[in-house]
Structure formats: structure tokens, C-alpha cells
């Protein structure tokens, strides 16, 4: 608990510092970036399929941490943003949890296990649905939970179950949140809160225009 509080304070300071250094007043309506497309975070979609917001967030998690793979839960992304300016408030609405981004080491087999768990409740709008960067995967929603994932590809080929990967995720999942027990690992590194990371990425990379590109293929 104590540790989390400290981390939250650091996250808040980071947000403030970013704006003060840029010479802007910090208010909830302060613009932190621009998007050329609607960022899709509606509950019914982001908990059941690939969306451009899931791709944007996992891509920036991977870019900012240098991890091989990023994985985050759809239930942690909780709102959409319309095309145009993105405000500080928009970011805090997308991710209101102050979860720290962390890296952990996983084998290819553990990555597959996490994906299996994440799609086990599909098509329910369950918060554990996994958005990914660095890998693409397919699953059959009609198969038995636990044996739905069909293919996981890393750098163009099937993922090696015995190879190890640095995986960026959030500290909710790495604490076993949504019963992702296979992600309960010691952290290699702890980074800023996800909302701070989103803000700093948007400030450097706007306008953004993420797309749905077939990372998650669902067979019915």
C-alpha cells in the first residue's frame, strides 16, 4: 500500500512537471495530444476484440519500456476519444487506475497461457481480454476455454514456447489481477503509471492515427 502511494505521487508529479516545463497551465482540459481517428475504448468492443486504442496503448508500452512484447487488459481501458485534441481529462478517463507499467520475463509458453486465460470468457465483455503489441494471435471462440488459442506469432514466425521474452504489462496483472496468475512474476523494471506514459508518448508523437490491423483474429 505504502509503495503504491509513493508511486502515485511520482506519477502525479510527472504529469505536473511535464506541463510546467512546457509552459502550460495544468487543467483537466489541457491538450496533451491530437488524434486523427476515433480511439475506440467502448466497453462492448475493447473487452471483446482488437481496437485501435488497445493497439496504441500496447505499442507505446512496448516503445517506452523497450520490451519485446506488451500485453494489457481491455478492462483497464475505459473510454473512447473522438478525433481532434486529446485532453488530460481524456487520458485520465481512458485509464483511471494509476497502474504502473512494469516489465517481467516470460517464456513463450507463459505468453500463450496468458492469452488463453484472457480469451477464456469471450464473447462475454470480461475485463481480462488481452490487447497486445509485438505479437499477433488467433483464437476460436467456440472451442473449450483453455484450448482456444490457435496461433501466436512473434517477429513473423510461430512463438517459441521455450524462448524467454521481456513483456511489458501493468502492475494489476502482474499482481494476479483478473486471475492472470501466470503473470505473477518479479518485476524486471517498474516505470511510470500508464496514464503518465500515455501523456508523454502523445506529447512526442501526436497526431496519432492507430489502426486495427489484424493482431487479434477471432474464428467463430
Amino acid at each position: 500500500m505504502h509503495k503504491r502511494k509513493v508511486r502515485f505521487a511520482l506519477g502525479a508529479l510527472l504529469v505536473a512537471a511535464l506541463f510546467l516545463s512546457a509552459g502550460h497551465a495544468v487543467a483537466l482540459d489541457t491538450e496533451v495530444g491530437q488524434t486523427e481517428v476515433r480511439l475506440e475504448g467502448d466497453r462492448a468492443l475493447i473487452r471483446t476484440q482488437e481496437t485501435n486504442l488497445g493497439n496504441l496503448v500496447t505499442d507505446l508500452m512496448r516503445a517506452e519500456t523497450g520490451a519485446d512484447i506488451a500485453l494489457t487488459n481491455g478492462g483497464g481501458l475505459r473510454d473512447s476519444v473522438e478525433p481532434g485534441p486529446i485532453t488530460l481529462e481524456n487520458v485520465l478517463e481512458i485509464h483511471p487506475f494509476e497502474n504502473a507499467v512494469v516489465t517481467i520475463e516470460l517464456t513463450g509458453a507463459e505468453v500463450v497461457e496468458a492469452l488463453e486465460h484472457g480469451v477464456s470468457r469471450h464473447p462475454d465483455d470480461w475485463g481480462g481480454f488481452p490487447h497486445v503489441s509485438g505479437i499477433v494471435y488467433s483464437f476460436n471462440t467456440n472451442a473449450e476455454p483453455g484450448s482456444r488459442v490457435q496461433e501466436v506469432r512473434y517477429q513473423g514466425g510461430p512463438i517459441d514456447p521455450e524462448a524467454t521474452f521481456v513483456v511489458a504489462t501493468n502492475d494489476f496483472l502482474s499482481a494476479g489481477g483478473d486471475e492472470f496468475t501466470m503473470l505473477k512474476k518479479d518485476h524486471l523494471e517498474e516505470f511510470a503509471t500508464l496514464e503518465s506514459m500515455i501523456i508523454s508518448y502523445l506529447q512526442e508523437n501526436s497526431p496519432v492515427a492507430p489502426e486495427v490491423e489484424g493482431r487479434i483474429v477471432i474464428y467463430e
Binding site: 500500500m1 503504491r4 502525479a12 508529479l13 504529469v15 505536473a16 495544468v26 487543467a27 483537466l28 466497453r43 475505459r78 488530460l88 481529462e89 485520465l92 478517463e93 483511471p96 487506475f97 497502474n99 477464456s120 470468457r121 462475454d124 465483455d125 475485463g127 476455454p145 502492475d171 494489476f172 499482481a175 494476479g176 489481477g177 483478473d178 486471475e179
Partner: protein, 340 residues
């Protein structure tokens, strides 16, 4: 925290709340009784003393401000005031996930949502998984600030219930028993650190036990107030029953006021002899259940008031507006780092 330390923390108000299961009886008969005939004359259909109106919300997730498709707390209060004017027997419930989700409440660790709910006059709430977001000890601190009763019949710490399992409200001439249920998934659907040391027990066992206890106390209605969820069961976990599945295995519940799954049930649904209601999400709707006791056996009719209907038919409540304005300013100061 030890039980002794916890006991010292309990305020006088909470001591009074905890010291007896029956609350509100004196107020209901003494205070409201003063004006009964006048109130009755104002109802839609003459004497409504044989009716109970239950207003319910769930899964607001900090959406206390009006927005597109969201009525916000300004309209919730206006609606509740209107019903309290037209009916003498009104009960206002929330099925959880209130204090977290938007900067206006996150930055203030939920206090702005609590203040709004106090103005509205909510009677009873059961905590949802996201109400543990600021750690369960903070939820216990907020409990002191809340005027309502927080109830849960299956949330334990060291083998003891963390909240009161139920409340019996004496409203008009009726005794209404309401018990609370938390989804056992609460242990991993908030950051597990927030609920470390807590146990979330079987909702089947809790329902059987407290339905029996309430029935023994001669209540006229048993309401289950659950942050449990509606629909298909989680196939992985038999303990994670949904409200409708639970009702196949238990008897004696009249009404199940549900949350967690963000379902919109326009007229409720009957399952296992009980009416299940849920009012969607984010204060997009407020639920209304009318219970008519005039024929002995209670008769139910459930409906929803949508945000569009609310904003068309009601004016926003200005006292709530003031709270929201102040909260927005303080949330801004927190983000700037100049607030306390």
C-alpha cells in the same frame, strides 16, 4: 487492523448505526408521520401508503457529472426528491462501483461522490469491486462520511464481517430487509493489494443464512442488494454465480437489485421467484421498482428512467451543482499539486 483498533475508529454515529439492526424506524414514523395525509394527497393515485418505491442505481463509476447520455447526480437528486414528494415510502439503493472512475472523484479519493450521494439521500449501498480501489481501509474511512448504510453479507476480515450484513428499514407500516452481496471475484477484480487480508465468501451460503435471519424477524420484503452481475455464469468457477443463477439455488428473496455486469433490464426479469433489476451503467438510467402491498402478496412493477427522460422532465439540482463545481476545482488543484 485489530478488532480493538477498528472499534476505536468507529464514530458515535456509526456506533449507533451498528448497535442495532433496525434504523430509520423512529424517523419514518415520527418525522414523516407528521405529514402523511398531505403527502398522500400529492401522490399520483391517491393514498399510496400501501406502496413502496425503490429507486436504484449501479455502476456509476464516478460519472457524477452530467454528460452525453449520462444524467449525473444533479438529476438523480431531482428525481429522488420528486418521488419522495409524491410517495411517502421510498427507499434509495445503490448496487456498487460508485466512487472511482473519473478525475472529479479519483483525485479526491471518492469524497465528492460520497457528498453527492449524501445530498441525494441514498439509504443503502453494497460496495462493488472498484469501491475498494483506494484500499479497503480508505473505504472504511469513507463509510464514516457516508450517511447511507454500507452492507455486505459475504465480505470478511479475520473471520468477521467487515460490514453489517443487512439492514431492516421500517418504512411507513412495512419492514424491509435488505442484505448485501459482493462478487467473490472482488479479490482479483481490483488490484489484489487493495483487498489483501479480506475474504469474499460464497454468495449462496450468505443468501441462505441472511434470508433466514431476516424472515425470522418478520419482514414484509427481502431485498438482495448485490454487486454480483447478471447473465451467463463464468464457466471456470462455480462460486461465481450470477444473480439469476444464484436464484435457482435459494428461496425467499423477493427482489434482487443487481450491478457489476452493466446490464440494462428495462422491466426487470423474473428468476427463481424473484424479480431481478439492474439499471445499466454510468447513471445513464435510474431504476424504479414499485411494490404494491395492497393485496397481501407484494406486486412488483419495474421500469427505468433514462438520462434523456430525466433531463427533459426535471431541472438539475443546484446544491449538487455546487458540490460538483467545488470538486472539479479541488481535483484540478490536486493535479496541479497545490491541493492538500
Amino acid at each position: 487492523m485489530s478488532a480493538a483498533k477498528r472499534a476505536r475508529k468507529v464514530s458515535r454515529r456509526n456506533f449507533l448505526k451498528r448497535s442495532g439492526q433496525v434504523v430509520g424506524g423512529v424517523l419514518a414514523t415520527g418525522f414523516l408521520g407528521f405529514d402523511l395525509t398531505k403527502l398522500a394527497a400529492q401522490t399520483d393515485d391517491g393514498d399510496a401508503s400501501h406502496k413502496l418505491i425503490i429507486l436504484h442505481t449501479n455502476d456509476m463509476h464516478g460519472r457524477i457529472e452530467e454528460a452525453d447520455g449520462i444524467m449525473g447526480m444533479e438529476y438523480v437528486r431531482s428525481i429522488v426528491r420528486d418521488f419522495r414528494k409524491r410517495y411517502q415510502n421510498v427507499l434509495v439503493l445503490d448496487a456498487g462501483d460508485t466512487i472511482h472512475g473519473r478525475p472529479i472523484t479519483n483525485e479526491l479519493k471518492g469524497s465528492s461522490t460520497v457528498d453527492c450521494m449524501n445530498l441525494v439521500g441514498y439509504d443503502i449501498m453494497t460496495p462493488g469491486n472498484h469501491d475498494f480501489h483506494f484500499h479497503y481501509e480508505h473505504l472504511l474511512e469513507l463509510e464514516e462520511r457516508w450517511d447511507l448504510d454500507l452492507i455486505s453479507a459475504n465480505t470478511f476480515k479475520d473471520g468477521e464481517l467487515l460490514f453489517r450484513p443487512y439492514v431492516i428499514k421500517e418504512i411507513g407500516r412495512y419492514r424491509i430487509g435488505v442484505f448485501g452481496l459482493a462478487t467473490p471475484a472482488t479479490r482479483y477484480t481490483t488490484h489484489p493489494n487493495n483487498v489483501r487480508g479480506l475474504d469474499f465468501g460464497s454468495i449462496t451460503e450468505a443468501t441462505k443464512r441472511y434470508v433466514r435471519e431476516l424472515r425470522e424477524q418478520d419482514v414484509d420484503l427481502v431485498i438482495s442488494l448485490g454487486h454480483v452481475g447478471f447473465g451467463a455464469n463464468n464457466p471456470d468457477d462455480v462460486e461465481l454465480l450470477t444473480s439469476n443463477e444464484l436464484l435457482k439455488h435459494v428461496d425467499g428473496v423477493d427482489l434482487f437489485v443487481d450491478g457489476h455486469s452493466h446490464d440494462r433490464l428495462p422491466e426487470g426479469e423474473w428468476h427463481g421467484g424473484a424479480l431481478v433489476v439492474q439499471a445499466y451503467e454510468y447513471l445513464k438510467d435510474i431504476g424504479v421498482v414499485e411494490v404494491d402491498f395492497s393485496n397481501g402478496k407484494p406486486q412488483f412493477s419495474a421500469s427505468l428512467i433514462s438520462a434523456a427522460e430525466a433531463t427533459e422532465s426535471y431541472e438539475p439540482d443546484l446544491e449538487v451543482s455546487e458540490i460538483l463545481k467545488d470538486a472539479r476545482q479541488r481535483a484540478r488543484e490536486r493535479i496541479l499539486g497545490v491541493g492538500s
